[in-house]
């Protein structure tokens, strides 16, 4: 399908909206009526047609506006994009991976013409048509990682692999859920994970690290993570907590349906071929509570998950104070009917919700 790109903002007046299409394909992260933290990895090898899992790098109606938001964040704070000197080759690997994937997966939007090392890249939604020499930085306006991630939704961490560990040695991080590249740059896997509660048992982390170290070329992996954000704000960085933290106090029973967003990260993991680095794209999807309630299964389930979530997790995810108000809102829709297993909404078969 051809995508109609929204003209919208993720700050100030928050004109961000999801179309019916975007709601239906929202990566709802709960496959049953309860939630338990787990590493829940699976192979990233396509998915149902139209779903966010189908393509290697999903492009949706928010693309153009998200890229505009990223450029603004970088104008204010250039340190959101950093690459240590030895990561340039990994940057080229990432550029190639994204250009090849997007031009194959969205031929109507992106074109890549390669003639030896002379590459021409056409990005129609952003109006870019550049010719450059592959592996020659001087022929691009930015370093290769910055160049391509200014044109790709989601954050990107590029991890060097050495000494049986992963190192946060490069990244483009402008839409993160409360972590800072400038703080984490150069850290290894254990160092940058240091403040996670509940999953702090070394065992889980060692297993996760081992899995990541072993992700082979040609077989990317993925998992979902989630949190809550008030207002459709992409840049919830620690640097800006003073600006967005306060918005959590603006929720009222009247505005919660529109303002409270479930924030889902589709995390993918790719082994990069030339550098042997690991690319870790973190794609963020936002959906307001009121939009989620248009899918009966999600309406029922979200209430049950949020209700039963352990306090520590609600605290860690930053919504313990607003949970009672969330539950008041969500309870109106939950009629207690059973839900079908799996994450997909199945609006055709799921009986309609009570209307709040």
């Amino acid at each position: 399908m051809t995508i109609q790109f929204n003209d919208e903002t993720f700050r100030d007046d928050y004109s961000f909206r999801n179309s019916d299409w975007a709601i239906k394909r929202f990566p709802f992260p709960f496959h049953e009526d309860s939630y338990m933290y787990s590493v829940n990895m699976e192979q990233h090898r396509g998915g149902p047609e139209g779903s966010v899992y189908e393509k290697r790098f999903d492009v949706d109606e928010h693309y153009v506006s998200e890229m505009r938001d990223r450029a603004k964040v970088l104008d204010d704070d250039p340190l959101r994009c950093q690459s240590l000197p030895h990561m340039t080759l990994a940057g080229w690997d990432l550029l190639e991976l994204i250009m090849v994937s997007k031009s194959e997966d969205y031929p109507d939007l992106f074109e890549l013409h390669r003639d030896g090392d002379t590459w021409r890249w056409v990005n129609k939604p952003l109006g870019i048509d550049d010719t450059f020499t592959f592996l020659d930085e001087t022929t691009l306006p930015y370093g290769p990682m910055e160049y391509i991630t200014r044109q790709s939704q989601g954050d990107f961490a590029v991890l060097d692999q050495r000494e049986n560990n992963l190192w946060m040695d490069a990244g483009m991080i402008t839409t993160q859920a409360d972590w800072s590249l400038d703080f984490d740059i150069g850290m290894n896997f254990f160092e940058w994970h240091a403040p996670v509660p509940m999953a702090h048992e070394m065992g889980i982390f060692k297993r996760a690290l081992k899995f990541l170290l072993n992700i082979p070329q040609g077989a990317p992996a993925r998992r979902l993570n989630w949190t809550m954000t008030v207002n459709p704000l992409l840049d919830t960085s620690p640097e800006n907590y003073h600006k967005w933290g306060i918005q959590k106090t603006t929720l009222t029973p009247e505005n919660i349906g529109a303002k409270q967003h479930l924030r889902v990260e589709l995390q993918t993991f790719y082994r990069l071929p030339r550098s042997n680095a690991l690319a870790f794209p973190i794609r963020c999807y936002l959906c307001s509570f009121q939009d989620l309630m248009t899918m009966p299964k999600w309406g029922r389930r979200l209430h049950r998950v949020i209700k039963d979530l352990p306090d520590e997790l609600a605290t860690y995810k930053g919504f313990i104070d607003n949970r009672p108000m969330m539950l008041d809102y969500l309870a109106q829709f939950d009629d207690g009917l059973p839900t079908s297993p799996g994450i997909f909404p199945e609006p055709e078969t799921e009986p309609p919700l009570k209307t709040g």
């Binding site: 998915g47 000494e163 081992k210 082979p216 070329q217 040609g218 979902l224 030339r274 550098s275």
Partner: protein, 327 residues
Amino acid sequence: MSAPQKAKAGPEEIPVIVSAVVPVTDHVTRFEFTRSDGADFPPFSGGAHTVVSMKDEGRTRLNPYSLMSDPADLSTYAISVRREDDGRGGSLFMHTKVSQGDAMTITYPVTLFSVDQRAKKHVFFAGGIGITPFLSMIGQLEHSNGNWELHYAARTPESAVYADMLLMKFPTKVSVYYSGKGDRIPFGTLLEGQPLGTHTYVCGPARFTEHLRDTATQKGWPASHIHSEEFTAPAPGEPFTVRLCKSDKTITVGEHESLLEAIEREKIDAPFMCRGGSCGQCETRVVSANGEFIHRDHWLDESDAESGTKIMPCVSRFIGSKLELDL
């Protein structure tokens, strides 16, 4: 999540055609591959290897070989195979049963040995057939104007694969030492006086690798600057019996097969990636054992290896009356 899954052990496979079989010395033959679908191969990192799958009279042999071709030329992948007359048969199969035009399967590149991008200079030490990963590393560094030198030990000029080519192309960067003439690589002197930020890499027989490692460590090189291709081919050994608890099967590992191969022969999907004891992917929990483990991997740390609770089936064996695995 509920997307279609392809659950399969081991790295992704690529169907290939053998495009050339080139004898290099009496014992070493180069095999070149093109993709069956005519496309280019995936890019790879110098020093990566591929696992070649050989259909040998009803059994499948999976042997890893370093990719030695130029990483900038993705129309072809090449490996060089040394014939091991008393090995387990994989190299003999390649030498005697594979010819140009044959269809085979190889895996995506697996990288366990690669150029460290932080290094200001790279000093390579190769012993014998251990030269192969350095050929692709040199290819990669030549494209990026990397600073490198190679010290290559071989028995005789006749057995020194690719030495002539290397000496001709890079006369100032390559030195070859013939042990048959009593020539030894002076590790100590060569490691001294290297500029700050130099990394060293070694690939060759175990004693050669150890010697370089020990010398570099003695000279105060940080461990993170010493890289070795710690790659072990499975070795033959006494047959032994294993009980696979989850699959409820008892199998015997033959003299010339690895534990991993015996498990695969029983059609049990066990994880693997490198098949050389270094990636950690095949790590398996021991349920109970009465006997002695022959750990030959480079993965388990000393306490894990001594505990007798873990084994790496791709290269390690067992001697004793009872072994039960969580598979």
